[in-house]
Subunit: 213 residues, 2 copies
């Protein structure tokens, strides 16, 4: 059975679990915190990040790499658009939102959720304000300009939609919501993705794991 | 004609130019420094990073995304392995080496090459020593354990080989070479990739652009 090393709450683990559920592939979660310094884990993922997938002989890190592998090994139902240009755009959104956008959202989540609840520390509100007021808006403007007025990016639900939305689920745990009057398409996409049944069920498990249930 | 925004010397621009040359696709380079704050450029790439590809209606950032698009739109000659597991491993190597490994190599390159030559500043040798002695060796150990004794990872030259080697070309401009007695497979792969004719010709142009010619 496929093994996923990680914990609920990571925007990257979430993507992989939803992809597996969507395709009806059974898996086992091996609890693993990121950056734990665990030497055995560093042998399978030298970055110490989560998730890592183990499927038989194959060991892969990075949620984007893992989700592309899942799509290639278990193609139905499809989670990526067809057509060279759409596939490339989905790939770009997944990279952008799994990189810079996820880092910004993680900054809000870490300061306002992890620090007070896991580490009993005060959040750095100056850093949070800088992210919310300076760094995120240009990204949200860019994404808003690329999204359709309604529904998913490529018609059906794809990893592009989930990749764009996943960081903002973490930001929402920390009390940040995308302003629907300023970025209506983004706010609409977040609502639409949250309504996908496989997303909903993973988010329920996650809420329990994070003590929000 | 395909437009590539960027400059010679970036390990990421290099990958894309080599991929295009390898497939015999003509392109035009639009000179663009990374993180220049240029507002027009931020419209096409909100990260301000290089390269960005423009092919007709399609605009894409990130060298991995761009190279996968090039492979999909212009499949011959192939630059990725075939087979689900090999493709996934190539994808993982490209992600790992374009991410954490490239950051380490960029640290060496920036301190020892860019700071003295472009900014007339002293390098931060303490930071460089930390990268060379602490952060890089576990990555090199990991890669060494994955590489074949001789030749390329998947038989023919692929983007996986180029992605692993490209950061170390920048590190070599800054006087860092992978120790062939400690990591013989890595050192051998660097030599083998440098001998690919399309790599050689891009490196010649690059040497001129960097004033090393």
């Amino acid at each position: 059975m496929i093994k996923i090393y990680g914990v609920h709450g990571s925007p990257f683990v979430r993507k992989v679990l939803i992809a597996l559920d969507y395709k009806g592939i059974p898996y086992e979660i091996i609890p693993q915190m990121p950056f734990s310094g665990d030497k055995e884990y560093l042998k399978i993922n030298p970055l110490g990040k989560i998730p890592t997938l183990v499927d038989g002989e194959l060991t892969l890190g990075d949620s984007k790499v893992i989700c592309r592998y899942i799509e290639s090994a278990y193609p139905e139902p499809a989670l990526y658009p067809t057509g060279t240009a759409d596939k490339a755009m989905a790939d770009w959104f997944e990279d952008l939102c799994g990189g810079a956008v996820a880092e910004m959202a993680a900054g809000i989540f870490f300061q306002r959720f992890m620090r007070p609840f896991a580490f009993k520390q005060e959040p750095d509100e100056e850093l949070v304000a800088k992210i919310i007021e300076k760094r995120l808006p240009p990204m949200l403007d860019y994404l808003e300009g690329k999204l359709p007025e309604k529904g998913f990016l490529f018609g059906n639900f794809t990893m592009a939609d989930l990749s764009i939305v996943s960081p903002f689920i973490n930001a929402s745990y920390a009390g940040y919501e995308v302003d629907p009057s300023r970025w209506p398409r983004m706010a609409g996409l977040i609502t639409a993705v949250r309504e996908v049944s496989e997303v909903k069920s993973v988010l329920e498990k996650e809420a329990k794991a994070l003590g929000l249930g």
